[in-house]
Each structure stands twice: as structure tokens, then as C-alpha cells.
């Protein structure tokens, strides 16, 4: 069942572990890119990773960033452990960009390596990229878009093939293609599901249908314009993307945000989390054919959209974040309205909890479906409610508090069953916690300015930042070179880290269980493809 207040009480000092095991072979730069940046040469990144995995079971790869450093390509491994966040730096020369893979140590790194191979041309020995991963099949060979010498407007795609592909052969083992256009998916992705009768044996994903090249586009716009660009990576979790980017820029600038702005940011982020969780809970009802539950949840989501419209001027894209604070203030006359709306929502929650406990058709469709065991969750580096539904207690708001989360008390919700039912319950309990957070923030709102001054030209430097989006841990890496535009912006979204978990949980189950299993991951493909 449910474990409360289980924050990480692991006191392993991971830097000491690396120092003792690898002494002079690596160079440790404290305070850079997280808690420390570890510079490795000659492929020692595998040894560092092995040492970390042996010392701490919650070691996971957050992202792998590829950089174009001129004569060489940089590969940064961003690792999170129970109580620290580190980066391992590695470099490969451009004319021989080979580096050893790490998927045998941490299997969850597979998607990250494939993306760096596709977009920058780094060859990972042991994890060969066949075809394309994020780019389309008609992409010209040898053109790596994130390299500095490639201009986005001058790429010519190959023409599509003129002859038709062969018919699928029907036999005992059938391949069913889910997507790209499919009523079960909100956004297009393709999953080729191999079924034997009614049991799934393999799932092959093909992502990249919504790839818009936002990371490349961010390099040609100013920081002020980039806030709006990054916000539009996703429609549902837009506020958190903007907050993530803005915090990264503030880390490079080393500016302090006024306290009132921090609380206003928390209010906006938690309202965003509320509407996103209610959306998923309703969508899950639609997938299992429970249209009544879907209509009820979305009816209760409408007052939250009205609140977002009240505080920011628009129902969906709130555009509240800016470098140095927030763009508009919260009027005192609006505060009672926010409180009454949230109180009404809180009164409706016991009804939904009762349905999840007692409704026999929900229990028949959701219990023991898509079970993800704790060891698999740790090895595949899943984040967000998917991890918290399987007993892994990671939450960036508790592990590394940002904004005003360090001062606001709230519970971290963890369930241990690991099936679809547990993940949905995690989201429902988080709805209540978000209501608590917003009410506390409104009661303790400090006075003062809501915006600080920030220069338009950012000095050279780099920073990493992570926040807790509704779907999990959201990460960004920003590198600036002293001009008005950033040099590299890398965003790793939570659904990108969770899709390998779906590939594992769908195996051995009924094909009719794929939609509820899939929706419980809360997929957002605009986030995945950027």
C-alpha cells in the first residue's frame, strides 16, 4: 500500500566514493554542473558509472547531452543519485567520434544514446543506431543537425520512395501497428506490437513524428524569445518548461529572484500540475471505456482552467515566467476566488477515491495491469508518478528543492504495487497535495517586488537545472557564450525517460491492456520529440 514521508535518508557521499576508487584517473571539479563535474579521459566514464551504481542503488542517468565543441564533440552524462546530481564529461574527436556504450550498466540509457547518435553523429560502440531515431526516414545521410556547421534552412530531404511496400504477411505471429494516427493516442507515435494470439511479445517504438527541432531553433533566438519557444514544447505542462529554462538562465547569471516571485511561481506551477493530473485521470477513464468518469473529471477541471485564466490571462499558455521573476502580479481581490474554487475541488475528491476503491469494472481493468517491479523501475531510470507508483521515492521538489518548495510542507506520495491502479492513485493523491500547497502559498505570500532586473546579454557559462513536471523530472542544460543567444539548449522531458518502461511492462500482457497501460504512463509526445 502507501508509504508516507519516505524521503531519501541515504547518506552516501558519492564524491568520496569516486575519489577513493578512481583516485588520479579522473579530475573532479566541485560545484560545476550540479554537485560536481567529473572529467574523464580515455573512456573511463564506464568505470565511474560502475562505481556509482555499486555504491548507490538509486543511481540513474537523467540525460546524455551532446555538444559541438569545435574540433571535438562533448558527451555529458548527467547522473542522479539519492542525494546528489553529478555530471561526467567525456570528449571524442570529430573525425573519429566513437565512445563506449553504458547500456549494460544502466539499461535506461538506451534512448539517450540513440538521440545523441542521431542528432550529433556520435557512434556508441555496442548500441548501434539503425536508420534514424528522432529524425524522419527521408533525412539525408551524414547531416547531423545539431552540429554548428549545419544550417537548418538549407537541409534538403530525400524524396519518398516511389514503389509501394510489400503487404504484411499474415501468420500466427501478427504485427499490429498502433499509430501514428490512432484514437488511443493523443499525439502521433508508432508502436509496432508483435502479438501471438492475444499476448504481446515485443513492442518496437518509433518516435520523432512531432520533432520540431526546438533545441536547434533556440540557438538562433534571444534568451527573451527562447522563454516563449521553450514554453511551447508542450501544451499541457507549459509553465514548468518555461520555469525550467528561466531557472537555468538565472543560474548562469547568478541572480536572486525576489521571494514574492518564488511563491507566485509555485502557485502557477501547482495550478498547472492540478490541471494536468485531472486531464490524465479523465483520459484514463476514456481509454478503458468509462466515458462517465471522463466527463466528470473534465467537468471538474474547468474551474482550474478558469483560475489559470484569472492569474495569467490565458487558459493554456500562461506565459508567466521571465528571467528574474514573474511577469504579472496576483491581485489581492483574486485570492478569495482561488481559495473557494480549490475548496470545491477538494470536496469532490472523496467521490473519486470511492470510485477507485469500489467500482468493480475499474478494478477489473486496472489492477495487476502493466506491473513495473521496483528493480526494473530503478534500472530503467523512470521518473515521476510511474516511479512513485512502483515504490521508488524520487521527487525533485523534495530531493533538491527549488523556488519556494523548501519552505512549504507537503507529502511525497509513494505506492508500492506498481500497476496501473497504483499510478492513477498517485496522481489523485497528488491533486490533494497540490491543493494544500497552493493554499499554503496563498496564506504565506510575502510582499515585495515580483520581478527583478536581468540583463539581456548573458555572460559565458553553463548550468544544469531540474524541476518536477507533472509527468516526472524535467531537466535542462544551457550553455551560453556571451552573446544574446544561447549556444546549446538541451531539454530532457519526463515521457522520454518513461517510454522504455512501457516497452517492458507491455510484454506478456493482453493486447487489450495496452491502452490503459499506456495512458498510465501519461504520455506526452510533444514533450518527447521536442
Amino acid at each position: 500500500m502507501r508509504r508516507q514521508n519516505q524521503t531519501s535518508n541515504n547518506n552516501i557521499d558519492i564524491i568520496k566514493v569516486i575519489e577513493t576508487k578512481l583516485k588520479d584517473k579522473v579530475q573532479i571539479q566541485l560545484g560545476q554542473l550540479g554537485k560536481a563535474a567529473i572529467v574523464t579521459i580515455n573512456g573511463l566514464h564506464r568505470d565511474v558509472l560502475k562505481a556509482m551504481v555499486e555504491a548507490d542503488e538509486k543511481t540513474a542517468i537523467t540525460a546524455i547531452t551532446g555538444l559541438d565543441l569545435g574540433p571535438s564533440l562533448g558527451v555529458l552524462y548527467h547522473i542522479r543519485t539519492s542525494n546528489a546530481f553529478l555530471t561526467i564529461r567525456a570528449e571524442v574527436p570529430k573525425d573519429n567520434p566513437k565512445i563506449q556504450t553504458v547500456i549494460d550498466i544502466i539499461p535506461g540509457a538506451i534512448f539517450h544514446e540513440l538521440e545523441v547518435a542521431d542528432l550529433l553523429g556520435v557512434v556508441f560502440e555496442g548500441n548501434q543506431l539503425v536508420g534514424h531515431f528522432v529524425l524522419s526516414e527521408y533525412w539525408p545521410e551524414g547531416v547531423y543537425p545539431l552540429r554548428k556547421d549545419v544550417k537548418a534552412n538549407e537541409i534538403k530531404l530525400n524524396p519518398p520512395p516511389t514503389e509501394e511496400k510489400k503487404q504484411l504477411e499474415y501468420g500466427k505471429v501478427v504485427k499490429i501497428i498502433i499509430g501514428p494516427q490512432h484514437p488511443a493516442l493523443l499525439e502521433p507515435e508508432k508502436f509496432a506490437v508483435t502479438v501471438d494470439g492475444e499476448t504481446v511479445t515485443k513492442v518496437e517504438p518509433r518516435i520523432g513524428y512531432v520533432h520540431r527541432g526546438i533545441e536547434k531553433a533556440a540557438e538562433s533566438r534571444t534568451y527573451l524569445q527562447d522563454v516563449y519557444l521553450v514554453e511551447r514544447i508542450c501544451g499541457i505542462c507549459n509553465t514548468i518548461h518555461a520555469c525550467n529554462f528561466v531557472e537555468g538562465v538565472e543560474k548562469i547569471l547568478k541572480t536572486e529572484v525576489p521571494p514574492r516571485a518564488k511563491y507566485l511561481r509555485v502557485i502557477a506551477l501547482e495550478l498547472n500540475r492540478l490541471h494536468s493530473h485531472l486531464l490524465t485521470l479523465g483520459h484514463a477513464g476514456l481509454e478503458i471505456g468509462y466515458e462517465t468518469l471522463f466527463q466528470y473529471f473534465w467537468r471538474d477541471r474547468e474551474p482550474i482552467m478558469d483560475l489559470i485564466e484569472l492569474t495569467s490571462g490565458n487558459r493554456v499558455y500562461s506565459s508567466l515566467m521571465t528571467v528574474g521573476g514573474v511577469r504579472r502580479d496576483l491581485k489581492d481581490t483574486d485570492l478569495p476566488k482561488i481559495k473557494t474554487t480549490l475548496e470545491d475541488l477538494r470536496k469532490k475528491l472523496p467521490f473519486y477515491r470511492q470510485i477507485y476503491e469500489n467500482e468493480p469494472s475499474i478494478k477489473a481493468r486496472m489492477k495487476k495491469v502493466g506491473v513495473l517491479k521496483r528493480e526494473d523501475a530503478l534500472k530503467l531510470c523512470v521518473v515521476g508518478p510511474v516511479a512513485r507508483g512502483s515504490g521508488v521515492d524520487i521527487d525533485v521538489r523534495k530531493d533538491e528543492p527549488y523556488e519556494a518548495y523548501g519552505e512549504i510542507p507537503f507529502k511525497e506520495i509513494v505506492y508500492t504495487e506498481g500497476d496501473t491502479w497504483a499510478r492513477m492513485n498517485v496522481r489523485m493523491d497528488e491533486v490533494e497535495e497540490s491543493i494544500n500547497i497552493v493554499e499554503y502559498a496563498i496564506d504565506h505570500l510575502p510582499t515585495g517586488p515580483f520581478r527583478g532586473k536581468a540583463p539581456r546579454v548573458v555572460p559565458a557559462g553553463e548550468a544544469v537545472n531540474r524541476v518536477e513536471a507533472p509527468r516526472g523530472e524535467l531537466f535542462c542544460y544551457i550553455k551560453s557564450n556571451g552573446t544574446a543567444s544561447p549556444e546549446r539548449v538541451k531539454v530532457r522531458t519526463p515521457t522520454y525517460a518513461n517510454i522504455p518502461a512501457f516497452l517492458k511492462t507491455a510484454i506478456g500482457e493482453n493486447i487489450a491492456d495496452i491502452p490503459p497501460n499506456f495512458v498510465s504512463l501519461d504520455p506526452c509526445f510533444s514533450c518527447t520529440d521536442r
Binding site: L224, Q225, T292, E309, G313, N314, Y317, N358, E359
Partner: protein
């Protein structure tokens, strides 16, 4: 919140029947229009008397939806509403507060030329 004894019957039976007798939660748009807050980010209202032709709005626009055109010898912004993302960065960047928001949002049209707000005719449309 007191907890009564937990019943094993799903509450959906009673709730659905009770909804027959309650008012539906639908807003019957377009016969009934919703109430919008005053600072809703709708169509822009441009006050030509305050403009100083600095061009900051056009430079900062993330969607490149503002073009500086010549009007009566001076450069004025022309808004292309089909490209605009209504972020109001232009209103923030303007040093003279010449761009303000309005609550007009029913901008859908079949004629693309009506979505270009020319400087001399930038008046609020409709109600």
C-alpha cells in the same frame, strides 16, 4: 472531514441519477458567452499617439508577427494576428505603454487579410 463507514457499493449509481435533476455543467456557447477577467490576453489595442517608433516591439516578438511599416512618414508596428502567439512581450517591451490588451477573442475568420492590424485602423473590433 468526518469519515463515515466505507460502503462497498460504488457511488456512481446514485450520482448519475442525481445529475438528471441538476443543471447541466455546459456553457451554451455561442448563445451564452463566458465572463472573462479584465486582463485577458485577447486582441491588441494600439494607441498611435503614444508610439515613438523605437521598434522594440518588433525586435522582441518571439513569433516575428510585428512588422514596422511606414505610415505618414513614421515607422509604426503592423500586427499579423495569424502569426501572433498573444504573449504580450510587445506590451512589456514598449517604453511608452502604447500596446494594451483587450478581452476580444473571437478572431476566427475566413478572410486572412482581416487578421492584419494596420496602424491607422487599429481599433477594437466588436464587443
Amino acid at each position: 472531514m468526518t469519515k463515515t463507514k466505507k460502503s462497498r457499493i460504488s457511488p456512481m449509481w446514485k450520482r448519475t441519477v442525481s445529475h438528471i435533476f441538476t443543471k447541466p455543467a455546459t456553457t451554451k456557447y455561442p448563445f451564452v458567452k463566458p465572463q472573462l477577467p479584465d486582463d485577458f490576453r485577447g486582441q491588441q489595442v494600439f494607441d498611435i499617439k503614444l508610439c515613438v517608433s523605437c521598434g522594440l516591439c518588433s525586435r522582441d516578438c518571439p513569433a516575428k508577427a510585428i512588422e514596422m511599416v511606414e505610415v505618414e512618414g513614421k515607422r509604426r508596428p503592423q500586427f499579423k494576428l495569424d502569426q501572433c502567439i498573444f504573449c504580450y512581450q510587445c506590451a512589456e517591451s514598449c517604453p511608452r505603454n502604447a500596446i494594451k490588451s483587450s478581452v476580444f477573442y473571437e478572431l476566427a475568420t475566413t478572410d486572412k487579410s482581416s487578421l492584419v492590424l494596420k496602424p491607422q485602423t487599429s481599433v477594437q473590433k466588436g464587443a
